[in-house]
């Protein structure tokens, strides 16, 4: 039976908003939280069931999901097509993914959709496993990653919502070499990676002279910071390198690959960043979407870093968020590091400023530009030999041909037609595809982004 009519219409269980709440998000913020409590690479691997357990405890105990304007979403799953839009999966999508990967990428997709449908202003996909080491060609797992969850989200958003210019700022401690590979030739995607110097950490790449291919020179930006960089250095990199470049690029949307392994307690890196620093970075960057990448100090860092990031995204006060026994003086970077980073910043901007010049140097008079690489899949212990050819093009991002063989035996040809491909590049890719099918490849893939069609033929 109904109880006495109450003066407040909203006081019943399940009633909607409209009542007085003390904490309200300045920006409507959406979260997908998917800790995959039943999935691990192996029982004692850093990428294991326990990874987000204490983060969940902290987020729930702080009551973040109860804050007015913060909403939790259930992740969607990505489809094979969503993955094929980005990757050449060898032998196929099912061969290189588990359900957890489909959900993790799906979580990013859910957030992307919610932002573009304006259900939320900011979104954070707190999902695992991560994805930023997964390149276009996928023979297995590298750096705990099988498929690139940001790229899958971005290409889905391009296909479904027609967004064009995208900026990705990767703040994971490891160079986002997978994302860099996928967008190396795309002039409409600005990829900026801030990471521990590749001379001192996996995957050993991400130097400042890596600035993109002959059609997209400049839209890859690498900021390799020295070990022991702390808050000051990171904030300097954001303020004096990332933000000016973003301003000039004018993206439709900004994505943060929000790795949390720059933390001073992370067991597999050597940086001195903090929860306060991450929150401040988030606040300065103002990304529309953040996607969790690495971060393996699961007790001492992640719970606090994530609370800081969520509060900063929502435009709420994060000044009191800190780790137990946090002491900024103890982790403060040396003056040498400060000076080094200031110099580095000037060089990064110099490269950015000279991107047109670098572009013409890369092209010369060539119609096609080639690069040959060996790619190591550390997680699955695979070595891939890859020859990549791009058609130099002024009208689009250029057709790409990838000739790839892994030591497991498969010899693959992958062909990519960019989303805004010109007729000529489309034709070239078609020809490559047809002639490749007659050659000695085990499999030939065609990614035709113009028609959102993905073909694969097997010998």
């Amino acid at each position: 039976m109904k109880q006495a009519p109450l003066p407040l219409p909203d006081c019943r269980a399940g009633a909607g908003a409209g009542v007085e709440i003390m904490l309200t998000a300045k920006y409507k913020t959406g979260l997908v939280f998917f800790p995959a409590f039943d999935w691990a690479i192996s029982p004692t691997h850093p990428e294991r069931e326990e990874r987000l357990l204490y983060t969940q405890d902290q987020v729930i105990e702080e009551g973040l999901f109860d804050i007015e304007g913060i909403t939790e979403f259930k992740p969607d799953l990505v489809t094979p097509q969503d993955i094929e839009r980005v990757h050449f999966c060898v032998p196929d999508v099912w061969g290189v993914t588990t359900e957890s990967h489909l959900i993790s990428a799906g979580g990013a997709k859910t957030i992307g959709m919610a932002v573009l449908e304006e259900k939320i202003e900011k979104g954070f996909a707190l999902v695992r496993p991560p994805g930023h080491h997964a390149m276009r060609m996928v023979h297995g797992a590298r750096g705990f990653c099988n498929i690139n969850i940001e790229a899958i989200m971005i290409e889905f958003l391009r296909a479904e919502y027609g967004i064009d210019r995208v900026a990705i700022v990767d703040t994971d401690c490891h160079h986002g070499d997978g994302t860099q590979d996928i967008y190396w030739h795309d002039p409409d995607t600005l990829f900026i990676s801030i990471h521990q110097d590749g001379r001192t950490l996996y995957p050993g790449s991400g130097f400042i002279n890596e600035t993109g291919g002959p059609n997209a020179s400049g839209t890859t930006v690498n900021i390799p910071l020295p070990p022991m960089t702390s808050e000051e250095g990171f904030i300097h990199a954001i303020k004096h390198m990332v933000l000016p470049i973003l301003d000039e690029f004018e993206p439709d949307i900004v994505i943060n690959s929000a790795g949390q392994d720059n933390h001073y307690t992370d067991p597999i890196t050597h940086m001195n960043f903090s929860a306060q620093g991450y929150a401040e970075l988030t606040n300065l960057l103002r990304a529309d979407i953040a996607v969790l990448e690495g971060g393996y100090s699961i007790e001492g860092a992640l719970p606090y870093v994530n609370v800081g990031i969520i509060l900063a995204m929502a435009g709420l006060d994060y000044s009191r968020v800190r780790e137990p026994r946090y002491d900024p003086d103890r982790i403060r970077q040396t003056p040498d590091i400060t000076a080094y980073i200031e110099k580095l910043g000037k060089k990064v901007l110099e490269f950015w400023g000279q991107r047109e010049k670098i572009k013409s140097q890369l092209r010369g008079t060539k119609e096609f530009v080639e690069r040959t690489r060996n790619i190591f899949y550390d997680t699955d212990n695979i070595i891939e030999k890859q020859k990549e050819t791009i058609r130099v093009c002024d009208d689009c991002a250029g057709a790409i041909r990838m000739d790839s063989s892994a030591d497991r035996g498969a010899h693959i040809l992958g062909l990519h037609v960019p989303i805004k491909a010109c007729r000529k590049c489309k034709e070239v890719a078609r020809q490559w595809y047809e002639s490749g099918r007659k050659d000695a490849f085990d499999m030939v893939f065609l990614q035709d982004r113009t028609e959102d069609k993905y073909e694969r033929s097997e010998r």
Binding site: M1, Q3, A36, I60, E99, E323
Partner: protein, 562 residues
Amino acid sequence: MIIGLDVGGTHTDVALLGDEGLVREIKVPTDPSDLFHTILTGLEKITEGISPGEIHRAVLSTTLTTNAIVQGKTPPVGMIVSGGPGIDPEHFRTNEHYFPVSGSIDHRGREVEPVDADEVRNAAVTLQKQGIRNVGIVGKFSSRNPDHELKIHDMISTSFGKMFMGHQISGNLNFPRRIATTYLNATVHSIHKNFFEAVKRSLEEKGLSVPIHILKADGGTMSFDSSIDFPGQSILSGPAASVMGAIAFAPDGEDCLVLDIGGTTTDIALLINRVPVLEPMGIRLGKYKTLIRSLKTRSIGIGGDSLIRVKGRELEIGPDRMGPAMAYGGPSPTPTDAFFVLGKGKEGDKARSLQGIASVAAALDMTPEAAATKILDQTCQNILAEAQEMTDRINSKPVYTVHELQEGYQVRPKTILVLGGPAPHFARRLEELSGMRVGVVPRWHVANAIGAALARTTCEVTLFADTQQEIAASPEENFREMVDRHFSKEKAVKKAYELLRKKVLQTGGSTDDLDMEITEALEFNMVQGFHTTGRNIRVKVQVKPGLIYETDAVAEKLLAGI
């Protein structure tokens, strides 16, 4: 025999149930300014001519604490809150006498920063000067380690009356809700205690010495004695009473919607295999989001007396109510008047209904009969749309494992049970529009009182273990034990069941009525530097809401004599 009593906005319903089924039912008018009188009248009337010895239980669902909170008529209490780093606890301020103090415990229950005794004593001195008697003490992560709450309690316990500690209120995480819940318990304590002691005394004076139980928002009961320590559990029990009254008639093994259609509002609830769906975190009352277990109900502003307006060419029904239907002397047309126009009403002034509906019909440019049909349809459609949205929301609740995401249960109700005054009129149209089976709950006019009478005692136990720290604990149950590295999830579940059994018997349940189940059981290897250092185990068990007798037997008895 058992008495069930449910205080409603206008009427208080009372039912007397015996072995043969429903023995007697009455309604007495509710006097919101004198609930004591209302309840005593109800209890006296229902027991007239019955020998007191025959009554062994009375379950009361009242609006006492709910109204006191909503109307802000609760006495001042003190709150001492220890948060440590994180969101400023000022944001969670519940009342004037609210004192954040130092101290911090981390997510694994380890002390990070001690409590500052001077701060606590200063707060206590201020509270005493302000004449505060009862105090709530809440720490962040106290449900992992209650040490700081206990320390604060011991520092000041001699200076105050009743004290409530957060870790005793709930085993769940959520610091802001723990603060709100502890505050509500502290602030309604004296109202609740004084009221029911007075009820008990008066009954005893009349020779009616019946054990009193209180209905909770989760559709379960607790004994009056145990409710003294958890008075907050008595808030918002009204919707639960109705749902429990419907349970006996819900189909076995499938999902079912329950619609309690009243004059102003309709409450929607969901049953899965005759067990109501619960709120995942806890109920919300006004600005207070709490950790109080409750049924998931959705209340919408549409009912038999909803005001009907025409805006442009569009019909609007509710959410406000101007008064009763015009057929009963009300000022403006309502869905109930539409029933009169369609020839379904009895004992009212049909001419006035027609007059009201005719004005609506004129604005819509149709006949009064067509307008009445449209009103009925739209009312039903609005209710069904809200029910669908509630179902969708339950189905889109986030889950945290791959298994649950793939195999998670999806609610698909095929049956609707309706109760409440206008329910029988709506039933057929709801069936036609929804394509679901629609049943009117037998004895619907007192189903809520019957529900209260037959609800079993429910409770929940949360236990966690950390074999690296060598502890298993359930702070809420005042349980903490040393364990070795062999302690497992299975052992944790067994221990949790043991604690649950003890708790339910202490709070008014009986051994032949323990429908216990596991609601959560997680076990994680804790790894440091590539070595397993221990296991982190979390277990939750509950006595699920249900009826004290076998459901089919209850249904049969209640149907007898209809």
